[in-house]
Every structure is written in structure tokens, then in C-alpha cells.
């Protein structure tokens, strides 16, 4: 440790600024109460033969395999297949099964559709409920107190900070997932995507589009290089 400090000072000789502390390993801190509890419960479940380590690892892998790409695939299908879109809005669970996506039994799902009249945005004010089985692990900001409290009080202000400016002719509808349902936003398909394939469409559906904090955008063509 002492050698490292000398090393750094050598590099910065003559400079008069503070060094940021070296980044710690994520498990360097002593275990918190919940970590101890988790380890104790997990060990007991394995010891008593209720679960195996393999089953726990498989469940973690399943969760890790979920990502916004899955949700984007669903949105792209809804954009090209009006009958599927109808089924998705009416019974999200069943429509997802058609695509081979099993959302499990922890919560029900509901799809809310953006229209020229209504823009939807998802929040969970009580904790941080999120459609994990379709979008994967939530971004840190989704769980922040600021997003959770401000989205209900000032949704237009929050959306503007995300770069989504909505006119007064569009009603903002906030969905607070307080209970047994998880919500996903079905964004509007940009007009400039006529004739695109499902894969092309899925590529412009970002995670935030499905939370409601972004709109799908069509990348502009690379500008032609100016003649020398």
C-alpha cells in the first residue's frame, strides 16, 4: 500500500491535487445483515434438500438472460402484426407465450399503448417493481427516490430531462405499479420505418422506450463527407 502511494506521488510530483481512492472490490466491505441472512437461508435450503445449488444458479442464469432485447422483439412483432398487438394488449401473458416467452408466476403483465393522444410512463413509487422478465435488471435510476417520487408529481418535467418533450395535446398517463402487475409501454412506430424488417425495428426499441422515458428514433443517414 505504502509503495503504491509513493508510486503515485512520483507520477504526480509537483501537482497539488487529491487522488481518488482506489476502487474497492464489490465484496470488499463486511457483509451486511441482509447478506448474512441470504447466505444463512440459502445454506439451510440446500442443507435440507429443498433446493440444490444448481437450481439456484439456473434461476440466476434465467434472470441474467433477460434483457431489453426480449422486450424489443415483442414490440417489433406488435408493430408488424396488428392482430398480435391486439392480443398483446388484451392478454400480455398469453401473447408472450406465443413468442416462447414465459414470464413466470411472480406477477401479471400489462401492455399500455402509446398513441398520438396518450403517452405512458411506468414507475413504482412504493419500491421498484419492474418488468424484469421482459426487460432484465432495471437501471439504477429507476430505483432512485428521485425518479420514483418526481415521476408521479411532475411527469412532464422528468420526461423533459430524459429528452422527451410532449405537447399539451398529448395526455401523460403515469402507471404506478403498486401491486401484482408489471407494466410495459408499447411505443409508437416511427413513420420513417416503412418496410423495415422485424429485426431492424427491434434495434430501435430501447429499454427506456418500454419504460416510457424515451421515444424510438430512426438514426439519420451518415452525413455525406464534404468535398475537399
Amino acid at each position: 500500500m505504502h509503495d503504491d502511494d509513493d508510486h503515485q506521488h512520483h507520477h504526480h510530483a509537483g501537482h497539488d491535487h487529491a487522488h481518488p481512492p482506489a476502487q474497492k472490490d464489490h465484496d470488499a466491505a463486511p457483509m451486511g445483515a441482509y447478506e448474512v441472512l441470504e447466505e444463512a437461508v440459502r445454506s439451510l435450503l440446500i442443507e435440507k434438500g429443498i433446493l440444490t445449488s444448481g437450481e439456484i444458479a439456473a434461476a440466476v442464469d434465467l434472470m441474467d438472460s433477460r434483457s431489453p432485447a426480449l422486450g424489443a422483439k415483442v414490440v417489433a412483432r406488435a408493430w408488424v402484426d396488428a392482430a398480435f398487438k391486439k392480443r398483446l394488449i388484451k392478454d400480455t401473458r398469453a401473447a408472450l407465450l406465443e413468442l416462447g416467452i414465459d414470464i413466470g408466476t411472480i406477477a401479471e403483465f400489462s401492455t399500455v399503448e402509446n398513441t398520438p393522444q396518450v403517452h405512458n410512463v411506468i414507475v413504482c413509487t412504493l419500491c421498484s417493481c419492474y418488468p424484469k422478465m421482459l426487460l432484465g435488471i432495471p437501471p439504477a435510476w429507476y430505483k432512485s427516490l428521485a425518479y420514483r417520487s418526481r415521476t408521479v408529481v411532475d411527469p412532464r418535467g422528468v420526461l423533459a430531462e430524459f429528452g422527451v418533450e410532449l405537447g399539451r395535446e398529448v395526455a401523460v398517463r403515469v402507471h404506478d405499479s403498486t401491486a401484482d402487475l408489471r407494466y410495459i409501454v408499447l411505443p409508437m412506430r416511427p413513420k420513417a420505418t416503412r418496410g423495415w424488417s422485424e429485426d431492424q425495428l427491434a434495434a430501435i426499441v430501447t429499454r427506456d422506450c418500454m419504460i416510457g422515458t424515451a421515444l424510438p428514433t430512426v438514426p439519420s443517414r451518415p452525413a455525406r463527407r464534404a468535398a475537399r
Partner: protein, 104 residues
């Protein structure tokens, strides 16, 4: 989960379009009705089905009897009197039947 959306352990008290309000009472223990809608009027937007009662589940009970869960739509202007933006802006909150009363 005890019941899927759309199935009911008992007939729902409210139907879509019904005008309701959330009692302004305090909760004893765990509760999934946010403070900001207590005492506020709303309209039933959807009836989700019956789900285990989170106020019992939270204390390691089976959560029975299951409670009917509704999607209730509130006008932002009713929830936040100082709300400045669009008149047509709404917030929708999922609320269990014991936390809803008919509007007089």
C-alpha cells in the same frame, strides 16, 4: 400466486367506469395504497382479478381471502392541486378493494 388476472374469488364490488375514492385512513402495517391517493377521487379503469392480500402476505400469512385488484385512474389535478401541466394528465394506480369506496 393463488389466482391469475381475470379470475375472482368473489364478485368484484366495482366495475370499469365506477366513480370511487380512496379512504384517507392510516394503514396498520404493510400496505400498498400510496399516501398520495388517499382521500382522492378516481374512476375504475380496469378490474385486474383477485390476488392474495399483500397486507396479510407481508406477515407470512397465506394472504387469504384474496382481494379484488383494480386499476384506478386519477386526474393529476385531483391528486396534486398545484399540478401545472396538461389538464388531461392522469395517474393510474393498482388498488385493492378494501381501499376503495363508492363516491357519494
Amino acid at each position: 400466486m393463488v389466482s391469475a388476472a381475470g379470475s375472482f374469488s368473489r364478485p368484484p364490488r366495482f366495475k370499469p367506469g365506477d366513480r370511487v375514492w380512496v379512504p384517507a385512513r392510516a394503514a396498520l402495517g404493510h400496505c400498498r395504497t400510496p399516501w398520495y391517493v388517499r382521500g382522492k377521487p378516481g374512476v375504475v379503469a380496469a378490474v385486474h382479478g383477485s390476488f392474495r392480500d399483500p397486507e396479510r402476505l407481508a406477515y407470512h400469512r397465506p394472504g387469504l381471502p384474496a382481494q379484488v385488484l383494480y386499476k384506478v385512474r386519477f386526474r393529476q389535478l385531483d391528486v396534486w392541486p398545484s399540478y401545472l401541466a396538461g389538464q388531461a394528465d392522469h395517474i393510474e394506480v393498482d388498488i385493492y378493494e378494501p381501499w376503495l369506496e363508492p363516491q357519494p
